[in-house]
């Protein structure tokens, strides 16, 4: 019988969250972000935290909400272009920021979950990103050593899940979620729909439940669109 990871709600799901912890948060822009967990982090008011997330939300949504509250001490991201408050806090030195190439960020999370402490990548060689990192040539090409990332809590968002913690993502909302799910000491998955055990096709599961410690069905998803681009019917 599969283990039961189901918790009642976001309050129970975030028990044990404390100041100065390191969190991973899935999502790309506002697509596939753990909206319920973020709202709960705001309401808990934890401070001094390090957030590993590809982006930092926008001023009034996503991780931008934690930034507005000055709850974040350090961000580890690849792109933060849509957030004025982020840029202001970074340029003024209030916020410690580690900007790293997106592929390295993804692989560092994957490595953290996969028991690989470090790897060599060509991305960032010869740039600020490579400064102070071990460089080595493979097949005549220079690479830099990047280390794995893990987190006290990983917050991920999926489309469907079951009580065993198995997850299925929808479309491009998958992005960093499966990798961060692997790298959390405690991984909290929020899903749009918690389905009965056995309903998910084992052949179609994206994140095996072994990577997930707590799962709950989220509420009130806003799923805000950052750039609404359309074409007109001819």
């Amino acid at each position: 019988m599969a283990m039961n990871k189901k918790v009642a709600d976001v309050h129970e799901a975030l028990q044990g969250v404390e100041n100065n912890m390191t969190f991973m948060l899935g999502g790309f822009g506002l697509c596939g972000i753990p909206e319920n967990a973020i709202a709960q982090l705001v309401s808990l008011g934890v401070s001094g935290v390090t957030c590993i997330s590809n982006n930092a939300g926008v001023d009034d949504f996503g991780l931008g909400l934690l930034l507005q509250n000055h709850q974040i001490k350090k961000m580890i991201s690849s792109y933060v272009g849509e957030n004025d408050e982020f840029e202001r806090q970074m340029l003024s030195g209030e916020l410690d920021v580690d900007l790293i190439p997106q592929g390295s960020l993804a692989e560092r999370c994957r490595a953290g979950g996969a028991g690989i402490p470090a790897f060599f990548t060509p991305a960032g060689y010869g740039t600020e990103v490579g400064e102070g990192k071990e460089a080595r040539e493979f097949n005549g090409k220079p690479h830099i050593l990047e280390t794995a990332l893990t987190a006290d809590f990983a917050f991920v968002k999926a489309w469907k899940g079951d009580s065993a913690g198995n997850l299925v993502y929808k479309a491009a909302a998958r992005n960093f979620n499966p990798l961060m799910a692997m790298a959390g000491k405690i991984t909290v998955a929020e899903v749009e729909e918690l389905v009965p055990l056995g309903e998910l096709d084992p052949n179609q599961i994206h994140t095996p439940g072994i990577f997930v410690q707590r799962i709950f069905q989220g509420v009130n998803y806003e799923k805000r669109i950052e750039q609404r681009t359309v074409r007109q019917k001819a």
Binding site: C31, S78, G103, A106, A123, G126, T127, A172, T229, R231
Partner: protein
């Protein structure tokens, strides 16, 4: 006449070959998809986890879960596939993606590119650009030849923090098509219609190699 952004995209589209997987950066590169010639079979990769990305959705059919790397709502072509970010960059670093088209603030005659940071002023981050330029076999840069003050963005050496070293193969600007001859300079291949060689020489700080008659771009 200096090219419009659409015309830069249109000229770059001529560089795309049949059966290529192509990654388009944000800005002018995104427009390249609109100008792919009939009969050329390409698939667009978006580094947030899509292969087989289609055009913008019809009004009312937008899906918040389906965006491109520029966070714009998009659609999927038949045969499209979704994957996580690590798999996406395996495609990029592993050179399974054939062609990368991206924007730049500066390019040097060595093929260095800078496009992610202006110290103390603008810090948006590199996103996937460092992974893309470090690995792509073929990199074409879409850019304006000069900045708003009229200063050249094609330089002997980049002044801004680098995104990648010695990686740019070709530049299509609003004035010219240029090939990066590593260590020698920018070789002028084509001029924008009505733009003189002299105007391009004046707008290029890096070494410009001009050999014989330089044809105008054809559209």
């Amino acid at each position: 006449m200096s090219l419009s952004k659409e015309q830069i995209a249109q000229r770059i589209a001529q560089e795309v070959q049949d059966k290529q997987y192509v990654n388009l950066g944000i800005g002018i590169p995104t427009l390249v998809a609109n100008f792919i010639p009939e009969g050329i079979d390409v698939e667009f990769q978006s580094e947030n986890g899509i292969l087989g990305m289609g055009p913008f959705p019809f009004d009312g059919e937008e899906d918040a879960d389906l965006i491109n790397a520029g966070k714009q709502t998009v659609t999927l072509e038949k045969g499209a596939v979704i994957f996580d970010s690590a798999t996406s960059f395996a495609m990029i670093r592993g050179q399974h993606v054939h062609l990368t088209i991206l924007g730049a603030m500066e390019v040097s005659e060595n093929g260095d590119i800078a496009n992610w940071k202006i110290p103390g002023r603008m810090v948006k981050g590199m996103g996937g650009a460092m992974d893309l330029v470090a690995s792509a076999e073929n990199i074409i840069v879409a850019m304006m030849h000069t900045n708003k003050k009229g200063e050249s963005k094609l330089l002997k050496e980049c002044s801004l923090p680098l995104t990648g070293v010695g990686c740019v193969k070709k530049v299509v600007s609003n004035l010219a098509v240029l090939e990066v001859m590593k260590g020698r300079g920018f070789k002028l291949l084509e001029r924008a219609p009505g733009v003189s060689v002299e105007a391009i020489v004046n707008a290029t700080e890096g070494s410009l190699l001009v050999e014989g008659d330089i044809p105008e771009m054809q559209f």
